[in-house]
């Protein structure tokens, strides 16, 4: 009986000890699990917040890229119908996953700017941002050659030389080609042209860019009392000062000419001789360079606009030689003659929620 009693007492102590140990262990594990669970929830929340923030930033960046270059934001504020105080005012084209709306920024209208409200969703996160969009104060071309249509296959049967580096060491290298199509397609075009297109090592790859606003540029040039093709003087004569030249219709260069400033051709620019130009050359009707002919531009070249008078079937046909070299100073000079359109840039933002 005593053995049974002692045995029973020992069993009881062991059971109690085991239960206490189990309870302590369970409490520890529960505490640990709670800490870990809390940290996991916090990490998940933070990840959702960061994803939504990144989505909102991406939305603004893509919306900015899609905004047309220009001088102000009136087209955006008036909406697709171009009329004030209508429901489509401020309609903003945004990528999937976010929505946005444009409104006038407070204060004076100058400098031109617009207030964007962006609502971005990503996973379980959502962010609301307000962004101030303005125009780049510095005139710039997105590339040495900016076209409204991607170049056609075999557009260059002669030679096109692209030098994206500037003599100004402060100037960033400029891409060789910009057009409203994907960089992949532009890369494919450059590759397909083979040795006919020769970008220098410092010429960045082609970039996607919205249409150059050539119609409005021509309208503004008309109002600025431009000169004509006479500013293009014969090569070998003393260079004339930079000038704004507007040529209505096509311009055919059949001898050797030179000029500087801003040359705007409303039709096609047809090079049968040679032309050296420092500044910005705009050919709304496209560019043709005959075999044996040459065009050299130190600055930038803008081509074509679908739907415009004299719009080209093909914006570019180079059987001769086309040489383009970046010069920020030449573009600034051209901008001084006639204000060039500016790209939209982010001027600031704030997180609303």
């Amino acid at each position: 009986m005593r053995r049974r009693a002692r045995a029973g007492s020992e069993r009881g102590a062991a059971l109690a000890a085991a239960l206490v140990a189990l309870a302590v262990s369970a409490a520890l594990v529960a505490g640990l699990a709670d800490v870990v669970r809390t940290e996991i929830i916090l990490a998940r929340e933070r990840r959702a917040m960061v994803e939504a923030l990144a989505a909102a930033d991406a939305c603004i960046a893509q919306s900015l890229t899609a905004l047309p270059v220009g001088w102000d934001f009136e087209p955006l504020l008036l909406g697709p119908d171009g009329a004030r105080s209508t429901p489509d005012d401020g309609t903003l084209a945004t990528p999937t996953g976010c929505s946005g709306h444009a409104a006038r920024a407070p204060g004076t209208p100058d400098p031109p700017r617009v207030l964007l409200a962006i609502d971005a969703l990503a996973g379980e996160g959502r962010r609301l941002l307000e962004a101030i969009i303005g125009r780049d104060p510095a005139p710039a071309s997105p590339a040495l050659l900016w076209t409204t249509l991607p170049p056609f296959p075999d557009a260059v049967t002669g030679m096109m030389v692209l030098e994206g580096a500037d003599v100004d060491p402060e100037a960033p290298d400029l891409p060789g080609l910009a057009a409203p199509t994907t960089p992949t397609e532009l890369d494919a075009w450059v590759a397909a042209e083979g040795s006919h297109v020769a970008p220098s090592p410092r010429t960045p790859a082609p970039v996607q860019a919205p249409l150059p606003p050539l119609s409005e540029l021509a309208t503004r040039a008309e109002a600025a009392r431009p000169a004509g093709a006479e500013v293009l003087v014969s090569q070998g004569t003393p260079p004339s000062p930079p000038a704004l030249a507007l040529v209505r219709g096509d311009l055919v260069i059949s001898d050797a000419r030179q000029g500087s400033g801003l040359l705007l051709v409303e039709g096609a620019l047809d090079i049968r001789g040679s032309l050296d130009f420092t500044g910005l050359v705009v050919a709304a009707g496209g560019l043709r360079i005959a075999e044996g002919a040459a065009l050299g531009v130190v600055g930038a070249l803008w081509l074509g606009e679908p739907g415009a008078p004299g719009a080209p079937v093909a914006p570019l046909a180079v059987a001769g030689r086309l040489a383009l070299r970046q010069s920020r100073a030449a573009i600034v000079t051209a901008d001084g003659l006639l204000a060039l359109p500016r790209r939209a840039v982010l001027r600031g933002l704030r997180d609303v929620g």
Partner: protein, 190 residues
């Protein structure tokens, strides 16, 4: 005899049982102690990470909106740039001014003697993190090159070159120190 043998066996059994119990108890105490230590360490690490993350999030929030200037009044994003102190400005209500006593002016101060990183809004100083072992701000230009910061801080021309702000923060509340090096880009264009 049987009775004596039974007692001797019981004593031996008790001694062995006691030793085994002590062994088990000691193991249990060690396991519980280790578990408790682990729990404390995990909680401390979590708290440290949370504190650092909150500081980084606050800085990110403020740097992103620095220079917000809807009225185009010429609000500079950074009004003070030192290695231990950063002051950001934003016209949040669009009235064309930056109020020094509101959230439109936000400063971050690394106070190493007090082992503290603070966020100062107007006259309110809010401690963001304690246990700060190292803390400093860096300023990068458009090419990502760090700007050399003199003891008196960057002057106005150099502040206008700032395109991103970096924070290097090491703190230890308990246990292992945690270090974060973050760079937040200003959302304003020059």
């Amino acid at each position: 005899m049987r009775s004596g043998a039974q007692r001797g066996t019981a004593l031996l059994e008790q001694l062995v049982g006691t030793m085994l119990a002590l062994l088990v108890l000691g193991t249990l105490v060690a396991v519980v102690g280790t578990g408790s230590g682990l729990l404390v360490a995990v909680a401390a690490r979590g708290e440290t990470e949370d504190t650092v993350q909150l500081a980084v999030e606050a800085l990110t929030f403020d740097v992103r909106r620095a220079g917000y200037d809807p009225a185009a009044a010429g609000v500079p994003a950074v009004s003070e740039a030192r290695t231990d102190r950063l002051t950001l400005a934003a016209d949040l209500n669009g009235d064309g001014t930056v109020a020094a006593s509101s959230e439109e002016t936000t400063a971050y101060v690394c106070a190493l003697p007090a082992q503290q990183l603070s966020r100062i809004i107007g006259r309110q100083s809010l401690p963001l993190a304690g246990g700060v072992l190292a803390c400093g701000f860096r300023y990068l230009d458009a090419t990502g090159t760090p700007l050399a910061v003199p003891p008196a801080g960057l002057d106005v021309p150099d502040r206008s070159r700032i395109r991103a702000v970096g924070l290097d923060l090491t703190l230890r509340l308990r246990g292992t120190p945690t270090t974060r090096r973050v760079v937040v880009a200003l959302r304003t264009s020059p």
